[in-house]
């Protein structure tokens, strides 16, 4: 009897040990990602420093001059564009699901929107390259150009030859990809609004939109903010869809119809071709910067989402 108990105790220790090891592995992986990317970047860090690297627009493998400014700019500008388009649409979708959609259709419609997130990024790329970009280049962008170019300042955004392989197309595709993330988190946050608050507003004669605008949205603002940051993280790290439609050009673009490059696309296109230690190290440095930005954003988003509904 006593030996059985002892054996069971040993087994239990053993099982708790291996499960702990597996859980700890996640921590170990994250730490080693940071350490190994940092170590691989050291050559580039030594050569260019931090501010020197992120402020330099050079990307010249032949003369071994590298800077992150162009790719960082491409990454941020496409992400910003995607957010501008995705946030209102996602809020609309969340409002539709929580307040307007007939109950029987709710699960079907929610799943349909979430399927947008399940479609792999390379499929967005294929569709973007062969179907959507030609559509943009032939029909939509010329129309935009015609209507906006005469306007001073704003017109600058619509100069150049609209080919469809550009920042605007990329921004639209990214916005489609991040919409389901924002919509589903915001939908869950909307559902956390206490029914008493909504009913008191209805009770004093508020219309449905006034309840949404003055009760539900203010109550959900931390959740909305958190979801937008998560979506931003996704857009920053999106690779394949962008690789197909952005054109991979290292330059600071001033028009929506210019090609550009993001950190992820640069990695995807140049990593296996990088000859020379400094070239490869600079690519690792880009990856490290991307990882750092992403980690920071997600940590902020987690704090906001944890405070949600309090």
């Amino acid at each position: 009897m006593a030996t059985t108990i002892k054996r069971e105790y040993t087994f239990d220790k053993f099982f708790s040990g291996i499960t702990f090891a597996a859980a700890f592995l996640v921590l170990a992986i994250i730490v080693s990602i940071f350490i190994s990317l940092f170590r691989e970047s050291l050559t580039a860090i030594d050569a260019f420093g931090f501010f020197g690297f992120i402020s330099s627009t050079a990307w010249d493998p032949v003369r071994e001059q590298f800077g992150a400014a162009t790719t960082l700019y491409g990454t941020l500008i496409t992400t910003l564009l995607a957010l501008i388009m995705a946030v209102p649409v996602s809020l609309g979708i969340a409002i539709f699901i929580t307040e307007l959609c007939p109950k029987v259709l709710k699960p079907i419609f929610s799943t349909a929107i979430e399927l947008l997130a399940a479609i792999p990024s390379i499929i967005y790329g294929m569709w973007g390259l062969f179907t959507f970009a030609p559509l943009m280049g032939e029909y939509i962008e010329p129309i935009l150009q015609k209507s906006f170019k005469p306007i001073p300042l704003l017109g600058q955004l619509f100069t150049g030859v609209p080919l469809g392989i550009d920042i605007l197309t990329t921004g639209i595709i990214l916005s489609i990809m991040i919409t389901p993330f924002i919509a589903s988190i915001v939908r869950d946050t909307f559902a956390l609004t206490p029914i008493q608050l909504k009913e008191s507003a209805y009770g004093i004669g508020a219309t449905r939109w006034e309840v949404i605008k003055d009760v539900i949205i203010p109550y959900s603002k931390t959740g909305i903010f958190g979801s937008v940051i998560i979506a931003m993280g996704r857009a920053l790290g999106e690779t394949m869809a962008v690789a197909f439609v952005l054109g991979n050009k290292h330059a600071i673009a001033t028009s929506l119809f210019d090609a550009s490059a993001t950190i992820t696309v640069t990695l995807a296109n140049e990593f296996t071709e990088a000859d020379g230690d400094l070239y490869l190290s600079s690519l690792f440095y880009l990856a490290l910067i991307l990882l750092g930005m992403n980690f920071l954003l997600l940590a902020i988003a987690k704090t906001f989402l944890a405070r949600r509904g309090r």
Binding site: I93, S121, G233
Partner: protein, 283 residues
């Protein structure tokens, strides 16, 4: 009179705003249908037996297939699943059971959530640095490792959540019979959480099946059939990228066909996972 005007104005605004929300919902559906219909339209036409039975033909020649890429994709995914799923389930078990009150458990849980959103291409560069570079060549194993790393936090968090849904009283009932904790977990908690964990696995596989970025510089690519995981290995996704960017029409056709197959696979898994969740947790 003014009062009535005010009311009808508010009603008009209400109608307008809610119509916009409806339009946004319509836009979401529009994109989904547009993309899926496009993949279907292009893909179905090029699904031929040769696609699955033949290996790549020399560039420009007819009659090639993607057999090598299908087999490579299966092998890489299989190995990723073999590494990622046990580790994810075990780790999730610790977080939900032994470590549920430890602060390090909460830290790991939060970090996993963050890691789920780390750009997958960064995982690719990491595996390149720790695996490909030291051994000196690309390999199927490296690709599987990258996918496994992407998979672990997903499986781990689902396992943790699903085991947390099993009522604590059920564990106490088993404890009261004198069962040690590991037996309670293996025979009681796992049984209660099995459907949920299974769904998590389906969704994790769906997630890695479409990954391209992390494979570009780990398993790389290969135009030939290989089952040696220690060599560069073709995958469907990397092949789609290469073929789509290539100059030949038949490459584009095969890329579409492969896109169709992979989309069908991933969407079926995702929908299946959702149906299981609804069927299990609704009642």
């Amino acid at each position: 009179m003014n009062h009535i005007n005010e009311i009808s104005k508010r009603k008009a605004i209400n109608f307008f705003a809610l119509s916009l929300a409806g339009a946004a919902a319509g836009l979401g559906l529009f994109w989904l249908i547009f993309i899926l219909a496009d993949v279907l339209r292009h893909g179905v036409a090029y699904i031929t037996p040769a696609l699955f039975l033949n290996e790549a033909a020399p560039p420009g020649l007819d009659g090639g297939g993607l057999k090598h890429a299908f087999i490579g994709q299966l092998l890489i995914t299989l190995f990723a699943v073999l590494i990622g799923i046990p580790l994810g389930i075990l780790g999730g078990t610790w977080l939900a059971e032994y470590g549920r009150h430890h602060s390090i458990g909460r830290l790991i849980s939060t970090l996993s959530d963050i890691m789920i959103s780390v750009p997958s291409i960064v995982i690719g560069t990491f595996v390149y640095a720790i695996f490909v570079k030291p051994i000196g060549h690309f390999s199927g194993f490296a690709g599987a490792l990258a996918l496994a790393i992407i998979m672990i936090p997903v499986v781990l968090r689902t396992t943790e959540d699903m085991m947390g849904l099993v009522p604590w009283e059920i564990r106490e009932a088993a404890f009261a019979l004198g069962a040690p904790y590991y037996k309670v977990i293996l025979q009681v908690v796992y049984r209660g959480a099995a459907t949920g964990i299974f769904t998590g696995i389906l969704l994790a596989i769906a997630r890695i099946a479409g990954e391209t970025g992390p494979l570009l510089f780990t398993s790389f690519n290969n135009m030939f059939l290989t089952t040696n995981m220690n060599e560069p290995m073709p995958s469907l996704t990397v092949t789609i990228y290469q073929y789509a960017m290539g100059p030949y029409d038949d490459w584009h056709e095969m890329a579409w066909a492969a896109s169709f197959v992979i989309t069908l696979f991933i969407l079926s898994l995702t929908i299946l996972g959702r149906l299981i969740i609804r069927w299990k947790y609704k009642n």
